[in-house]
């Protein structure tokens, strides 16, 4: 029994390694556009910078996507949805965070509604700096992610799996327990 | 055995019953039993009464009247037996009616026919007075009187032309004297209308609704079953052996066709069970007379038999049902048969037979009618018959489904074991004859010949 499980895990690793070869040239994004940084994505995608030449493209649902883009500050209310979305993505999956807000809250650091350190809640693979980051830095961030995949150092999703309790605890602390479960109450 | 006993015994017993009211009902039963016995023992032939044969006062027993007598007397008997309670007051009237009915079937004389028609008519008025709807009875009385008056008028005209009242002699006389058809149109039309009132033909039948709408089991079976059959048979004999329709045949056919159509359509539009049945009866009698008018005697007799049996079942059960539940709205009778399955079965069989579905007698009748009509190449008429029987089927099926399946609470009613047995036997009879009809068709085979024989022999065989 133990033996077989190991093989399953090994198989998965093998597939991931094989997949990494393709993945670094074909990254599909899911854009979680909550903040102002989202405005920089259109330039990066269209004629001026043409993200598609790197094999990147937008996708409609988390199931299809490889990378989750968090563009800017994250309010408490959206964290729950972000986590839900992240957990719906299939592995391997990466997170790219835009701007300073995801690191320390940025200019909203003293707001009661904004989370200051996103990596307490989700594993971030790449931060892109700038408020807002200009398209060049966005593109730079993506090539960094590709390099990380190539070097097998983009391991945020493994961290999330391994330290899941820690992440869950942080998420719980931030959100608190909600008892009413229906369409209007979370 | 002399057939005059069939008339004489009930009349005699009627007088006796007036003397002692107590014995009225037993007397009625005895008379009926005797009549039933007699019907099955009399032999065929022409019987003259009291030496008046030269005036044509005589009784004719041929296959036609024999079948009629059997059916009518048996059903009359069963009707009385199954409705003992209602009979009490009416025993004398019923005895008179019995005499009239037998007389109508036996007589071979146009004037005697009028007399018996009046006897039957008067007893019918009296019977319907039991409905406690005086206006309807009065209506019936007025129309019946007008009808028989017209009949008498026509009769007088005919007598003045031909000089005879013997039914068997009229047709030969007309041929002998070469009376023009246009002269004959009026008397025959008058007689047709006169009988049409009793036979429930369309414009002359407004009495039917008032009478049958409120009738109990006894009255409705007598009026719609026994009397209707008698009148139909009488009418049939006149149409096939006496009347020369000639120029009025178109009017007659239109009247009959419209009767049929109107009856079915009106039944379709009705919401009360008795109303549905009475309109259906009107349509059926229209069809019967229509067949006679087209010279289709055998199918007509078959239809008459099928009709009286199914009408007996339908009206008896309906009467009991209305008595028990105090309503005749179909909507409030829903599901009654779920508590009275045997009665429901009989009712269902009867209505399926009326619709003309196979395995039931009605189907054989319908098939016969259509075959005969088509052999005359009557395309339009047969199409009409099919259309109206589609309408008929529709409302009967609607009725059946409503009576078997309930939506709300179900009303209940009690039926005597005797009624159950009789209706069931009749229902089974409909099924048996629906599969195996040979004896009946064989016995009917000779009817038209014998009818014509009487004419050929000029009433002197």
């Amino acid at each position: 029994m133990e033996n077989k499980k190991l093989t399953q895990a090994q198989m998965d690793t093998k597939w991931t390694e094989l997949g990494d070869f393709f993945r670094r040239k074909s990254i599909w994004m899911l854009m979680y556009c909550t903040g102002c940084c989202a405005i920089e994505l259109p330039q990066a995608m269209t004629s001026a910078y043409d993200m598609e030449r790197l094999g990147m493209g937008p996708m409609a649902t988390p199931r299809q996507a490889d990378v989750l883009l968090i563009t800017g500050y994250l309010s408490l209310k959206t964290l729950r949805r972000l986590v839900y979305t992240y957990e719906q993505m299939s592995e391997p999956k990466y997170v790219v965070a835009f701007g300073p807000c995801v690191i320390n809250g940025g200019i909203y650091h003293d707001s009661h509604a904004v989370l200051n350190r996103l990596d307490h809640y989700l594993p971030i693979d790449v931060y892109i700096s700038g408020c807002m980051p200009n398209p060049e830095s966005v593109m730079n961030g993506f090539t960094d992610l590709m390099d990380l995949i190539k070097n097998k150092t983009a391991v945020g999703w493994k961290n999330y799996r391994d330290n899941n309790e820690w992440y869950k605890k942080n998420q719980m602390d931030a959100l608190g327990e909600v008892f009413v479960h229906d369409e209007f109450h979370e | 055995m002399n057939p005059v006993l069939l008339i004489a015994i009930p009349l005699l017993f009627a007088f006796l019953s007036i003397m002692n009211k107590k014995f009225a009902r037993p007397l009625l039963l005895v008379a009926l039993l005797l009549d039933v016995y007699l019907v099955f023992t009399i032999s065929k032939g022409l019987y003259s009464i009291g030496g008046f044969s030269q005036y044509g006062i005589n009784l004719l027993v041929d296959q036609y009247s024999l079948i009629g007598l059997m059916v009518v007397n048996v059903v009359f008997f069963l009707t009385v037996v199954t409705n003992c309670k209602e009979v009490k007051r009416l025993s004398t009237v019923l005895l008179v009616a019995l005499a009239g009915v037998n007389g109508l079937l036996l007589t071979n004389d146009l004037f005697n026919l009028f007399v018996f028609l009046e006897i039957v008519g008067i007893s019918a008025y009296l019977i319907t007075s039991g409905n406690k709807r005086p206006l309807a009875t009065f209506n019936y009385l007025v129309q019946g009187t007008v009808g028989s008056g017209l009949y008498l008028l026509g009769l007088i005209l005919l007598y003045s032309m031909t000089g005879t009242l013997n039914m068997a002699l009229i047709l030969p006389t007309i041929v002998d004297k070469a009376i023009p058809l246009s002269n004959l149109a009026l008397p025959f039309m008058l007689m047709f209308i006169g009988l049409g009132v009793e036979a429930k033909l369309l414009p002359f039948n407004s009495w039917v609704k008032g009478v049958l709408q409120n009738a109990n089991a006894l009255t409705s079976v007598l009026i719609a079953g026994v009397f209707a059959t008698t009148i139909a048979l009488t009418f049939g004999r006149l149409l096939s052996t006496v009347f020369v329709l000639g120029s009025i045949s178109n009017i007659v056919l239109v009247i009959l066709a419209v009767t049929m159509l109107a009856g079915e359509v009106a039944a379709f539009a009705s919401k009360r069970i008795r109303e549905v049945l009475l309109f259906s009866a009107i349509a059926q009698s229209g069809l019967i007379i229509l067949l006679f008018a087209n010279g289709l005697v055998i199918p007509a007799i078959m239809l008459i038999i099928a009709n009286i049996v199914s009408k007996y079942i339908l009206f008896t059960i309906t009467g009991k049902m209305v008595d028990g539940t105090k309503t005749d709205e179909i909507e409030s009778l829903q599901g009654v048969f779920s508590k009275n399955k045997l009665v429901g079965f009989a009712f269902t069989v009867a209505s399926l037979s009326v619709i003309g579905l196979p395995l039931f007698f009605g189907f054989i009748v319908k098939l016969n009618i259509l075959t005969s009509l088509f052999s005359q190449y009557q395309l339009f008429l047969s199409a009409l018959i099919l259309v109206v029987s589609l309408i008929e089927g529709t409302y009967f099926v609607k009725l059946l489904i409503k009576l078997w399946y309930s939506v709300g609470e179900v009303k209940t009613f009690k039926v005597d074991a005797l009624v159950k047995v009789v209706t069931l036997i009749f229902a089974l009879g409909l099924i048996v004859f629906g599969v195996y009809t040979k004896p009946l068709t064989d016995s009917l085979m000779t009817v038209p010949e014998e009818m014509m024989e009487a004419i050929a022999e000029r009433g002197n065989f």
Binding site: K25, W28, R53, A60, T61, R63, S90, E91 | -
Partner: protein, 298 residues
């Protein structure tokens, strides 16, 4: 028996060829579109990368019907492709390349995918399937009317037979120009190109039937999409452009048809689904019927 086994192997080869061809041409077309939009565009083999990446991912499954539907879809489409002639001599099952097989075997694939998508439990997938089926009802009828004209004129429903007929008597694209136009519109509908891509509508119903797919199921559905595109475009080439007598000719015709369709697609917006139905049932159907009557009942 060995003949059939051989045919089946050839058929699998055809399916593989079709997949490779369409994936390559799809990639090239992405580049073409990129250039048209003044972009550099992806690599020509980008589609292969995408598909293999998806296949290697660890996906989720919503139950057995979700997986079974995918297998049935791709299997059905593969089977369809196995009947497809590439040139007039290169055909796996000679004599059995009946037009109706393509129409109906294609439907197995569609049904499998629809089933799998609905089985995911996502309402958006069901909506997408609903739109896809409605659209199918719209484009298929005019197309079929044009095709029966062709079958009746050429006297055979075998694709190689139709090819040979055209090689002898000229292309149907020229002899039946109206039908050619109608069929091209239908082709756009079949391929799900704009303006008829309502059932995908990524920003509206999150890519419709595909909404729940990721990983290998998504990869297989991409494979299916490529093969289906191969079948549809080849059908068009064989029916209207005289087929091909050698493989180069086929590749050239194929590339032109697909590229033109793709370019047209990139110039259009998106119809609503009821607009699609009304669109196809107005002029294309009327023209197809009129042409059929003109050609056949004359």
């Amino acid at each position: 028996m060995s003949v059939i086994l051989m045919s089946m192997l050839i058929g699998l080869g055809v399916a593989l060829f079709g997949f490779t061809l369409q994936t390559t041409i799809g990639g090239i077309n992405r580049k073409v579109v990129g250039r048209m939009q003044k972009r550099y565009g992806p690599k020509w083999y980008q589609e292969f990368l995408d598909i293999f990446k998806a296949l290697s991912k660890r996906a989720i499954s919503h139950g057995w019907i979700y997986d079974f539907g995918v297998i049935m879809a791709v299997g059905g489409i593969t089977a369809t492709a196995m009947f497809m002639p590439i040139t007039d001599s290169l055909v796996a099952f000679a004599g059995y390349d009946n037009f109706f097989i393509f129409v109906y075997l294609l439907a197995v694939g569609m049904l499998g995918m629809a089933m799998s998508a609905s089985g995911s439990g996502n309402p958006l997938a069901s909506i997408g399937v609903m739109r896809a089926l409605t659209q199918m009802l719209a484009y298929e009828v005019p197309f079929m009317v044009v095709v029966i004209t062709i079958i009746k004129v050429s006297g055979t429903s075998s694709l190689t037979g139709i090819m040979e007929f055209q090689q002898a008597n000229g292309w149907f694209a020229l002899s039946l120009p109206i039908g050619f136009g109608v069929a091209f519109l239908s082709l756009l509908g079949m391929l799900g190109k704009k303006p008829f891509e309502t059932y995908i509508a990524p920003s509206e119903i999150a890519s419709g039937p595909m909404v729940e797919y990721g990983g290998k199921q998504l990869g297989l559905l991409f494979v299916m999409h490529e093969i289906a595109t191969f079948i549809e475009v080849s059908l068009f080439v064989h029916l209207f452009l005289g087929g091909a007598s050698n493989i180069i000719e086929f590749l050239a015709k194929y590339f032109i048809v697909y590229t033109v369709a793709n370019l047209i697609s990139n110039l259009n917006g998106r119809f609503k689904i009821d607009q699609v139905v009304v669109f196809f049932y107005k002029w294309p159907l009327a023209l197809a019927v009129l042409q059929a009557i003109w050609v056949l009942w004359r």
